[in-house]
Amino acid sequence: MKLIQYALGEFAANGIYQAIALVIFMVVFIAILIYAFTLKKSFVDQMANAPLDDFRSLENSKTEQP
């Protein structure tokens, strides 16, 4: 445990820690970009329109008088 603590402290001080953090972040970010831009256009369009089709029809809905 002591050793790990020591190692963490040294990493932190020498900037290795920040470097690791940055690398992890970059990898994830690039993965997200690749994922987002390889999606099919038809799929993306369909998803973008998801909030818009409501099939709203009130004739069967129960209403209450206030």
């Binding site: 603590q5 987002a36 069967n60 809905s61 129960k62």
Partner: protein, 827 residues
């Protein structure tokens, strides 16, 4: 095409919407009250449960968890049913969630007013309520995931992603920040102390803003903005990137609340770097929202709902630009502890959360009641009142912040503080505090108009409790539970996978940004002279917490000359190890109190002074805005809790001797009698059993143990041998970089010296020019002269590199060098 009937539950949406409106008005009224209190202390009414320190947490909690919380649930319960084409999973869970949440809010308001608080911002509530929150939150999660599982669409729209991520993260945050050991039914101590407590708290505090005030609202934006504009979001791909980048980056940024404070440098750097990166996805999100309206700006001009949305989204962009700026050390040095923070949160709170909530309700209520908005004109008036309110709120805050910060930092030519009396800087900003009240009144007036408009709308419509729609049946229902199907295949894999990735992102970031603090304990230079709180001081500290003194007073002197000159020695990480919870504070409405107990120190006041000050601060200082605390003088100190408190503290690692809890009250009375005698000698009639005695004991403890004299005596004598001088290129380059971040502010980028620190490149030295002398100057610093000790902030290996670099620049003779100071040293 075959269709199927779905019944949406509108009643639960209506419940949450009503709660949003109700608590919103209450939260704003309380906000107005505390604004008045800061303008004039009369509005504290000399009543315990109405004083600023207790009311401010009620305001923040009411706005965040009651107003915004209920608004989130309104939007989630409404949009989720429609996006997933299904009713909520369980009526019972929905209403359990609703009533549970409202009960929590009521309990929160009562306990906070009575002074039961953990004093951790936005996590003030005591442990039984914390448990209740966890239960209700889990119920909400269960209901949400159940709904997702029975959805009639194949894929989840990005708004749902935001809801899921918010739920997951808030769960993690709430659990880890609320680990506390109960002492009694309504009092507990957090397991973390000092530095660790601060880091966990701001990891929480920041992400509560991120995952309660931001991501759920982004979900709402991604649903209601396209709805109201009647066109799809500008770029769905951008939405995906926005989502993942936010979820991944947000968690790392917590330490930006603790810049220049007693936390390791690397943590501060991490906080800054990730905060700045956050601008990119946030602005992506804002642009995505605004571009959705491209070609429809004529609509915006007529439609108040869109107007509210546009201002909300723009404010989101402004706040997420301002925040990262405030996370850089340069800006932070000026803005932290000032009203800038308050201005910043109100751009977020009033414009982003408030306006988006209003727009959502303007959209939603007429539809729930199958009618039209009663008055579009009123809504427009509301928009302008609100916008003016925000401006009249924010601009005075920024003005006050800059004015006060510059006054705090201004020195005369002789090198003294120009405004050594803190009150001078308060009086200067009082007009701004009055203007802010006006801003609040405008905003609240708008909100009241909104309520009237809603009531009229509701009156003219008829409520659709159970909305029936016919949706086409999908070829395959990937997720619905078929007859005879087993449970685990019913819980569809995709949302689970997705949730897994979210958890992974959150956990990785949390681990990276918090686990190294395990190593902190061994890094913190233990301060031998530091003693645990005596029983009386501990009781006093708990009264300090109860009264919410931390809402106005920081206990964190940063290593700036302007602060050490004003308050005394700057804060060391090691001096907080017994502080459960930490009391660093985040706002200096009054002066910092970290060194209030250093005899002969700048802040030191006698017991009699404190007595009179608590009785009537305005008697000591006519324009003071500190509330009076007369009840501290009449209330009898509750000593029945002493033993339990000492026991828990011991269990948490505070080194009280064995069996101390049994004699603690004797010691408490002995110390109390001393203070009471001192007061009696000054003609004050008081018995030792009053609360104020404990409070004075605590204030006199602050900073006392590590007062300077002992420390500086030692440092004059000791010679510490310098480490080996490094001469290789790589080490010197590193030394140079470390110098740039740690020293250049006071010694100039080339070490040429500036208004603060001396020239290091000539051969004249104030504190000796031998290698050993120079190393000692760097590592121990001259805190009383404005140079912080570096050995508490930097690792030995870093010190060695800086020191080697400093030696290497002697004689370089850079331009604009400061005139020599001290004596010539022959190298």
């Amino acid at each position: 095409m075959e269709t199927e009937r779905i019944h949406y539950d509108n009643k639960i949406v209506k419940y949450f919407a009503y709660a949003t409106i109700f608590w919103g008005i209450i939260g704003m009224v309380v906000g107005l009250l505390i604004a008045l209190q800061l303008a004039h202390p009369f509005f504290n009414f000399k009543t315990a449960f109405l004083t600023f320190g207790r009311i401010r947490p009620i305001h923040t909690n009411a706005i965040i968890f009651a107003f915004v919380g209920n608004a989130i649930f309104t939007g989630v319960y409404h949009s989720m049913q429609r996006l997933l084409k299904t009713r909520m999973y369980s009526n019972f869970l929905s209403y359990f969630h609703f009533w549970g949440w409202q009960i929590i809010i009521v309990l929160a308001a009562i306990t906070l007013a009575l002074g039961f608080t953990l004093s951790k911002e936005y996590a003030e509530l005591e442990w039984p309520i914390d448990i209740l929150i966890a239960i209700v939150w889990l119920v909400f999660g269960f209901n949400m995931f159940g709904t997702i599982a029975q959805r009639r669409v194949q894929h989840l729209y990005v708004a749902i992603w935001f809801y899921i991520a918010s739920w997951v993260t808030v769960t993690v945050l709430h659990v880890f920040n609320s680990i506390e050991i109960p002492i009694s039914l309504l009092k507990s101590y957090p397991v973390y102390a000092g530095l660790q407590d601060a880091l966990v708290q701001w990891w929480y505090g920041h992400n509560a803003v991120a995952f309660f005030l931001t991501t759920p609202y982004l979900g709402l934006m991604y649903y209601y903005l396209p709805k109201q504009a009647n066109r799809p979001i500008y770029s769905y791909r951008m939405g995906i990137i926005h989502f993942w980048a936010l979820v991944f980056i947000y968690i790392w940024t917590g330490p930006h609340h603790l810049l220049y404070q007693s936390v390791p440098n690397w943590a501060q750097t991490l906080g800054t770097v990730f905060s700045v990166m956050l601008i990119a996805p946030s602005w992506g999100g804002m642009i995505n929202g605004l571009l959705t309206l491209r070609g429809a700006w004529d609509k915006v001009r007529e439609d108040p709902v869109l107007k509210f949305m546009v201002v909300a989204v723009t404010a989101y962009g402004m706040s997420t630009f301002e925040g990262p700026m405030m996370s850089t050390k340069l800006v932070n040095a000026i803005t932290h502890f000032t009203d800038w923070t308050i201005g910043h949160v109100h751009i977020g709170g009033m414009a982003w959360n408030g306006f988006l909530t209003f727009s959502m309700l303007y959209y939603l209520i007429p539809r729930l009641f199958n009618t039209k908005l009663y008055s579009v004109k009123w809504a427009n008036t509301h928009f302008w009142l609100g916008t003016l309110g925000i401006l009249f709120y924010a601009i005075p805050m920024y003005w006050a912040a800059i004015t006060q910060s510059l006054m705090w930092k201004e020195f005369t030519e002789e090198g003294f503080l120009r405004y050594p009396n803190f009150m001078e800087t308060v009086v200067q900003i009082l007009p701004m505090y009055y203007t802010r009240v006006l801003g609040g009144v405008l905003y609240l007036t708008g909100a009241v108009l909104f309520v009237v408009n809603m009531v009229k709308t509701i009156k003219q419509g008829s409520f659709v409790a159970d909305e029936v729609v016919n949706v086409p049946i999908l070829e395959s229902y990937p997720s619905r539970r078929m007859e005879g199907e087993r449970r685990h295949s019913w819980l569809e894999r995709r949302p689970l996978q997705f949730t897994f990735w979210v958890i992974l992102a959150v956990v990785i970031a949390s681990v990276i940004s918090t686990v190294p603090f395990m190593s902190v304990k061994s890094n913190v230079a233990s301060i031998e002279s530091l003693k645990p709180y005596s029983p009386l001081e501990l009781q006093g500290r708990d009264i300090y917490i109860r009264e919410g003194c931390y809402t106005c007073h920081s206990q964190m002197v940063r290593p700036f000359r302007s602060e050490t000159e004003r308050y005394g020695d700057y804060a060391k990480a090691g001096e907080f190890v017994y502080d459960h919870p930490f009391q660093w504070g985040s706002k200096r409405t009054g002066p910092d109190l970290l060194r209030a107990g250093v005899p002969g120190g700048k802040l030191y006041k006698t017991a009699a002074w404190h007595y009179n000050h608590f009785l009537d601060p305005q008697k000591m200082n006519e324009q003071s805005i500190m509330p009076a605390y007369p009840w501290l003088i009449t209330n009898t100190l509750d000593t029945t809790s002493t033993a339990a408190k000492i026991k828990v503290m011991k269990w948490l690692g505070v080194p009280y001797p064995d069996g101390f809890e049994k004699v603690a009250n004797q010691e408490l009375m002995a110390q109390a009698s001393q203070i009471a005698t001192e007061l009696n000698d000054n003609g004050i009639d008081i018995t030792p059993d009053k609360e104020i005695i404990a409070m004075i004991a605590y204030l006199h403890k602050l900073g006392r143990d590590i007062a300077l004299p002992a420390a500086s005596e030692k440092s004059e004598k000791d010679i510490i041998p310098a480490p080996e001088l490094l001469t290789d290129e790589a080490s010197l380059v590193e030394g140079k970089n470390l110098f740039a971040t740690n020293c250049a502010a006071c010694h100039g980028p080339q070490g040429q010296g500036n208004a603060v620190g001396p020239n290091l490149t000539d051969n004249y030295w104030i504190h000796g020019g031998s290698n050993d002398d120079i190393f000692k100057s760097i590592s121990q610093g001259f805190p009383e002269k404005g140079m912080p000790a570096q050995n508490t902030m930097l690792k030995p290996s870093e010190l060695q590199k800086i020191y080697s670099f400093v030696v290497s620049i002697i004689g370089t003779n850079p331009p604009n060098a400061k005139a020599p100071q001290g004596e010539l040293f022959n190298r």
